[in-house]
Symmetry: D3
């Protein structure tokens, strides 16, 4: 049923992309809710939920592809966060970005690395403010 694809997809989206994924979905609600629905159902409901590949490997593939394509910085940042969420270490992620020098050239790899720098700075900018609460 459609319904279960949506439910499974939403669960995967939460597990993988966390808040950043929900922000993307939220920002689609006024302009094209059907694209939000399809984004949950097909990539997350149909693909990420398949057991044939672990989530770490899936995020490595996604980061590599988005760095190589080069024109999807917002989605790359979401998935750099997602890679951390599903257990990739910072060093493993840097290594994937570094390897993209070989396949997509140095500029694309540099842009990927600077996107990761932003992701790490944003996550550290948030964490200290949490620490203040304790």
């Amino acid at each position: 049923m459609e319904n279960s694809r949506f439910t499974v997809g939403l669960e995967q989206l939460s597990k993988i992309d966390g808040e950043a994924g929900h922000n993307v979905i939220e920002s689609l609600q006024d302009i094209c809710p059907d694209l939000a629905k399809f984004t949950i159902e097909y990539p997350f409901g149909d693909i990420y939920s398949r057991p044939a590949l672990d989530l770490k490997s899936r995020e490595i593939a996604t980061i590599a592809a988005l760095t190589a394509l080069g024109h999807c910085k917002p989605q790359l940042k979401v998935h750099l966060n997602a890679a951390l969420n599903v257990g990739c270490t910072e060093d493993e992620i840097k290594e994937v970005l570094l390897q993209m020098t070989v396949y997509a050239g140095f500029p694309a790899a540099l842009n990927g690395m600077f996107a990761f720098k932003e992701v790490l700075q944003e996550s550290k900018a948030i964490q200290p403010s949490n620490d203040l609460d304790t």
Copy 2:
């Protein structure tokens, strides 16, 4: 030393790409031996030899990137073979290609899958003839 980068690179190339990698290097000798040298030294000597990421993850990243870029079928086929060489299962590789529908579109993913079909057919075309020897 330059020399050790070349030696390490050649070793990595053999381990990862096998005969297909050596064929690429060989076919560069008459037109541009320096490109052969750089291909061994930088991607294989400098990058693939780094311990920070296992070879299975490296090949998953490479396959994803080349499928997304879409215009590198010969290199994609070399690395689909390489992925099998370093321990990816056929199902894991198919899963990476399938996931590219989400990031690079269905045509790019379909072309990746058909490239893998060719790789498997070519490897099976060779294996039976080996079996005849036994």
Copy 3:
């Protein structure tokens, strides 16, 4: 239900891509039947079946995108045929390809036009032999 997406998708695929679409699906059966299933369900079941855009406009969009991307000749040829199937004239299709000189450059547009030349030659190569039957 999943089932109805597949059924609707298969119907759309037949109507739009005709035999060429079924050949793509068929050639996936041995390597990755799930990609065949997803190709029917998402692009054709979910997207092409939506009434918000007529099929002529959909094929114009698809031809333009695939010509601009440049690395999907097999899929471009399927959709150049599909454009004829859903009522685009030869001149309208040529005009879309011509317009791609502006957005993707002359080489990409030339390759699109030569792909259309092949499509027309293949369809004419088949039609006369049918005429012989009558």
Copy 4:
């Protein structure tokens, strides 16, 4: 004559892209007026003026191509406006962008949709302030 291509092109540019098109031309005057001249003469004078395809279909093709290419956000926004100018409905435009999930992947389609959201917000930000004048 050169002159008539320029005159026809300027007329087409005004009709299709409106003020946004003139802003592009204007911003080229100090850096490279010849590029402004060529942009008017070839795309608009030679191509958009041809009667073989209606302007709605032309804009659908352009939006699809620019969304798929992914790295031309300013030009995509000009043509999302142009599509509205020549009679595409908001829903038809959203449908073209949605369809690009299939051919260029979800990230490219999402970026296209967010560009359209900006276009609609900017046009609405301008219209109410006009209404206040009445």
Copy 5:
């Protein structure tokens, strides 16, 4: 006048691309003669004829761009020939292709180098047979 753009363009095309350029134009006559006309008038009549950049530099730029784009092998081969025609040495051309490893990745550069190998083999395959005539 249109006419002079066409005349200038045809002259440039002959000088730069030689026979290969005329073959492209010829092969467009039955499918879309207007694309042939535009290809002569805009790239060759308007752009290549401008004195602000020498033809060697123009071909270096074109070879670099087509190698980086990766999906225009027929046009790349025409311009690898053209580069030789306008005075680039084989070594200079190889150097441009080699440099593309940095900006477009090793696979795109390798494919460019193999295209050049084909160009040189084809030109040598023709030259000996000419020699036989003498």
Copy 6:
């Protein structure tokens, strides 16, 4: 030796990219110093240092490639500055960007030209303040 590749590369980087190049290297130090090292060693130490092509031709190739790829604006700006550094005139650079309309389409060429406008404005914004010192 590794060391000499790094030393040669750093020298080339200084000569070609000037301060902008050092800023890129600097901004990599906290996130991935190895990428900084590789960027100096391979592109600048191995490639730009080769005598087979003059630096003007190298920058023309790089500008053409980055404009055509379209998704590397920061690197394009560094190399538009570099082209000026190694002796390209403003008019020659504009001509390369203009020519990219033919190979990568008008939007990519327009974005390249606007990047060059920014480069020239930034360099002029800095020069007057220097003049104040005299």
